[in-house]
């Protein structure tokens, strides 16, 4: 009853009803780029980078539970692939993403997904917005130039005692700004700070005491690309 058959890029796939589409695709060797999505965490659906065609409608695959007879197009749909690329390009012009000066380079998911979507340049005009940095907290440097508003830190990093949010987003639209509660941030353990810095898909939340702590060539996505990681992790979880 729970077993369903869906079609991705013409390939029939047997899976379990209700599983997330992006996971099913990855498990079957079809890579869908993601930025805000984290496996085993509630879906955020903020970045839309994983948008694919489901029954002829473009929809973010991290928010779709699979259902019987679903027809999905990922790599076969060239227009959709170009749209995913355009979304990445938009993120690159919206902030100031200067990879040569960023310590997250090589372990940045935005950069890694840029490589996967074959982005060489953005088709949109570069905005060069002016953003204030926030370095008031003891252990966190908030580099607002690089925030892509994925809201991972907002939803998943909370004060251990009160469960209050530490990060939040103020204003709306092009005036949106990532904020940090300094008092709560200073109560964070070093492990939690490291978790937040690691969770940030870009170099916005930076651990003040770490800096450039991994040599070039030895960084996460230099050892294994984001595509390989997505496909391997999923494969491993299938076997276990």
């Amino acid at each position: 009853m729970n077993s369903v058959i869906i079609t991705i890029d013409g390939k029939k796939i047997k899976t379990t009803k209700g599983e997330t589409l992006v996971d099913v695709a990855n498990k079957n060797g079809i890579y869908i780029p993601t930025l805000c999505y984290m496996k085993d965490k509630p879906c955020l659906g903020t970045c839309r980078v994983c948008s694919v065609k489901v029954n002829d409608y473009l929809i973010s695959s991290c928010t779709v539970p699979v259902a019987d007879g679903m027809v999905v197009e990922v790599e076969n749909d060239k227009e959709g692939a170009d749209m995913r690329k355009a979304l990445i390009e938009l993120l690159f012009v919206e902030g100031n993403h200067n990879c040569p000066s960023c310590e997250k380079s090589g372990r940045c998911e935005l950069q890694a997904v840029g490589y996967e979507t074959n982005m060489m340049v953005s088709r949109f005009p570069y905005r060069f917005p002016v953003n204030e940095r926030d370095y008031a907290s003891d252990n966190i440097w908030l580099e607002r130039d690089r925030c892509i508003f994925c809201q991972r830190c907002v939803e998943f990093i909370k004060d251990k005692e009160t469960n209050q949010k530490i990060f939040s987003i103020s204003n709306r639209g092009s005036k949106s700004r990532i904020e940090i509660d300094i008092d709560l941030a200073d109560k964070m353990s070093l492990e939690q700070v490291a978790e937040a810095a690691d969770m940030c898909p870009v170099g916005c939340i930076i651990n003040k005491n770490q800096g450039f702590n991994k040599a070039i060539g030895k960084r996460k996505f230099e050892i294994e690309t984001v595509r390989e990681r997505a496909l391997n992790t999923q494969k491993n979880s299938k076997t276990t």
Partner: protein
Amino acid sequence: MEKETDKNTFYSHDLPSTKMDTKVMAKRDEKIQVAMIGLCGCWGCTLSFLDIDERIIGLLEKVAITRSSLTDIKRIPKRCKIAFVEGGVANEENIETLEHFRENCDIMISVGACAVWGGVPAMRNDVSLKDCLTEAYVCNVGAVTGDKPVIPYHKDLPRITNKVYPCHEVVKMDYFIPGCPPDGDAIFKVLDDLANGREVNLPTSLTRYD
């Protein structure tokens, strides 16, 4: 822009130079003409071009480098097929040069982060030009005590643009090689594809943004 025409003004490319061997010149003329330029950048991409090492010998069978910092030819002598453009646009001279390249070259390649999106020089886009020049020349920590601070200004100095622009926001660019600088392998792949009449296919395994 009006050019100075008084007899005291002359350009380096008008100076007398040793004529090259006619046979060598005739052979060069048959090849694919390439022009190179560094705008607002650090010439790192041109150095990276030299990282193609001995592959340059094979490449030079097919192409002839005309204007470039390597040949010391300062004007584009004739229509070129390929232009290798490094650096972004940060002053009036950059705009003029880039337009001159666009008029005289068929295929323009943006090489490196500065040409592609502005790169390190574009970090000044955060502040106003006034603040930028004040920081560089007036409030500079290296300023000599007691000296009157001067922001350089002269008719012979190109005026600086308010912001730094990627090349493709000034003229149409045809191909892009990101990287600061791009690897020699990436530069070679694009030049080799063009020199052999293949469609340019630069895989992301050869490129990077940093």
